[in-house]
Symmetry: C2
Subunit: 100 residues, 2 copies
């Protein structure tokens, strides 16, 4: 498995909109077993996106999906910057969706 | 929802064992919709645990479950230290298990 944990900082007041854009783009992604968008409780402009994919190739392929390309285009002007970004190898747990 | 993203550093050579202990303890936790244990790809001793709970109370309650208490007891001597720890409010996404 391949995992990503990333922090994104929205422009002031744009966090909710950015969350909605990301969630709208992440509905039907082959090879994705987890994709969670969360607000940072101690930073009013920050969100965290945590992802689990079957492998790195399926994550790469997702970036070419029309819905994801659309989300990236809509999201980019809402983003002030990217923070921590960690690549991981998930081993297991709860809430890993069956992957098509 | 209530989320946690945390980095844990194992003692050298103990990461795999710590991952297994955490996963063994996290099998049946009411209110947990996601709990993923992952290796850090760029730090051979580090793991990341990402969690989504129905609310903060269910996370607190989980710490009193016998299986979780057992995992904490077994895991503690394997842990060298705790790193980043972020509290979040997950909004949605893929791979959030139905919660009992």
């Amino acid at each position: 498995m391949y995992g990503l944990i990333g922090k994104i900082t929205a422009h002031a007041g744009k966090r909710d909109e950015l969350v909605e854009v990301l969630l709208a783009g992440a509905k039907d992604m082959p090879g994705c077993s987890s994709y969670v968008v969360a607000q940072d409780n101690s930073d009013a402009d920050a969100i965290w996106v945590t992802e689990v994919w079957v492998n790195q190739a399926s994550h790469q392929a997702s970036l070419k999906l029309p819905a994801v390309e659309n989300a990236i285009a809509k999201g980019r002007p809402l983003i002030a910057g990217f923070g921590d970004r960690v690549m991981t190898t998930p081993i297991g747990g709860i809430g890993l969706a069956l992957v098509r």
